[in-house]
């Protein structure tokens, strides 16, 4: 923010509360010791507003985060996600090690496919949410949130100790570019050496794009069709340029972290630090489906999660839309008949819906109420703003 501009409340839902962009008046020039991705220079050339996130210098927006969001919904957007953590788990015991370390059944994934999962603490608290790609029988790639990368590497290494498996932090070996939107397939197809029609949702396998080897995955964090390309850092700029040129006639524009956050919020996807934390279990977030209590192997957190699965829920994650333009933000109180009933986890103006939206944890009795008008509100900096409970996700793609 500009110096001398006192912010009453700054909420960067993509970021942990209190990060530099919030409090530091030099946020327009983040710390120079922040890590640059293989594409940071590209973003600078494109005139992006850079921000520091989890120790990385990332593009927050290029021109308008709303235009970037809308482009992903109607055409396509190009994202640099090279800050994410990539951890290789390899060896004959890799599958067994991951079945023990994580809550899902990773041994059941076929090579060439991926799974959304979580790593929990012994008490069932979530340490991170992950996407795990099985590249071969004994070769997995675990993708972690940038802010939790170190914690996940350490936890995996510790948990894999009893297995014939090696855990290697390979974050520096990868650049990650995401192409997301209804035109992603038509933009990527001429550049790819495989038939994209064969790449199903949550598949991921080696391919060539613009002649360069990548792990091509049909995954994403936007609620649109799209791809994530894990590439060598040396190929990042070439791939970015090739995709940009290929998509120029189709409305493809670069998109930053601000748009990434509003897109995932509309799609009802959780963000670690907001909807997920070490004080919450996957069940709290309505994601009990990732916990395979019936898998044959023991796993870290099994007992606590089994107990939690059988217990009455203490909170439920819900969606809210608000009537005014004032935006509910992380930490704001949710009111039912004027009394506090929960807390907002994430909130933002929704470009697609045209109203502010939020996710919140509320008491289960409130979540179960019919959408009666006039009873629900969010305390937005001292003023209760009327809202409505809605089913998640806020947005589902039609194609």
């Amino acid at each position: 923010m500009p110096a001398g501009w006192a912010t009453t409340q700054v909420c960067c839902d993509c970021f942990p509360v209190g990060s530099l962009i919030v409090t530091d008046s030099t946020a327009s020039r983040p710390q120079h010791q922040a890590r640059r991705t293989p594409l940071t220079s590209m973003h600078e050339q494109l005139g992006a507003t850079l921000t520091e996130f989890a120790g990385w210098l990332m593009p927050l927006r290029y021109a308008s985060e709303t235009a970037e969001h809308n482009a992903v919904r109607t055409a396509a957007g190009l994202f640099d996600l090279s800050h994410m953590g990539e951890i290789a788990v390899t060896g004959p015991g890799a599958a067994a090690a991951l079945d023990y370390a994580l809550v899902s059944e990773l041994s059941a994934i076929k090579p060439g496919r991926a799974k959304y999962t979580m790593i929990c603490a012994p008490d069932g608290g979530v340490l991170d949410d992950l996407i795990v790609y099985r590249l071969a029988e004994g070769d997995y790639l675990v993708v972690a949130n940038a802010a939790n990368s170190a914690v996940v590497v350490d936890a995996l290494a510790e948990r894999a100790a009893g297995f014939e498996a090696t855990v290697t932090d390979r974050t520096a070996d990868y650049a990650l570019i995401a192409l997301q939107g209804p035109r992603a397939v038509s933009i990527l197809a001429p550049l790819a050496d495989i038939d994209l029609g064969e790449v199903r949702y949550y598949a991921g396998y080696p391919a060539k794009v613009a002649g360069r080897p990548v792990l091509l995955a049909r995954t994403g964090y936007t609620g649109e069709d799209g791809f994530e390309l894990f590439a060598s850092p040396e190929d990042a700029e070439l791939l970015w340029r090739a995709l940009s040129e290929a998509g120029a006639g189709d409305g493809l524009i670069p998109a930053g972290l601000a748009a990434r956050d509003t897109l995932r919020l509309e799609a009802g996807m959780p963000l670690y630090g907001n909807e997920l934390s070490s004080g919450l279990t996957p069940f709290d977030a309505g994601l009990g489906r990732v916990v395979r209590l019936d898998k044959a192997s023991d796993f870290v957190g099994r007992e606590a999660l089994a107990e939690r699965a059988g217990a009455a829920a203490q909170r439920q994650l819900v969606g809210l839309t608000l009537q005014s333009r004032r935006v509910p933000r992380h930490g704001y109180e949710v009111l039912w008949d004027g009394a506090s009933c929960g807390t907002v986890t994430s909130g933002a103006p929704s470009p697609t819906l045209g109203v502010p939206i939020a996710m919140a944890y509320v008491r289960p009795e409130v979540a179960g109420q019919a959408a009666e008008p006039g009873r629900l509100a969010v305390d937005v900096r001292g003023r209760p703003e009327p809202g409505t409970l809605v089913e998640l996700p806020f947005y589902r793609r039609t194609a």
């Binding site: 923010m1 500009p2 110096a3 001398g4 501009w5 006192a6 912010t7 009453t8 409340q9 700054v10 909420c11 960067c12 839902d13 962009i21 919030v22 008046s25 030099t26 327009s28 020039r29 507003t49 927050l60 927006r61 308008s64 985060e65 709303t66 601000a258 509003t262 005014s324 333009r325 004032r326 935006v327 933000r329 933002a348 103006p349 502010p356 900096r381």
Partner: protein, 130 residues
Amino acid sequence: MTVPAELHYTPEHEWVAISGSTASVGITDHAQRALGDVVFVSVPSVGSRVTAGEPCGEVESTKSVSDLYSPVDGEVAEVNPEIEDDPGLVNSDPYGAGWLFKVRLEEGEGEMPPGLLTAEEYTALTKDEE
């Protein structure tokens, strides 16, 4: 980044245009760039008193909420009727259609309210921040 020479400015990134005994107020190009897409502006109500250097409203964008300060003392004479339905005017035309409110000054006509910066001084200030 534009800083029109004929306007005055504050360190809180407002611009002021004085015409007779009326001051028009908005936020600068520098501020709208830093904020990102503006989604809501809370302006002081017509007839209310504003005090120079004191917050009198809020500017809310996708990622942040910031105080809006009054650069001058006086009574609010007018607010921009377009801003409620089209807050993006602050981004697209911060010095024109994105004006926020007008104040009837207490100073006599021709007297400059104290504490305002020239375009040069404001430009220097924002350069220091970079």
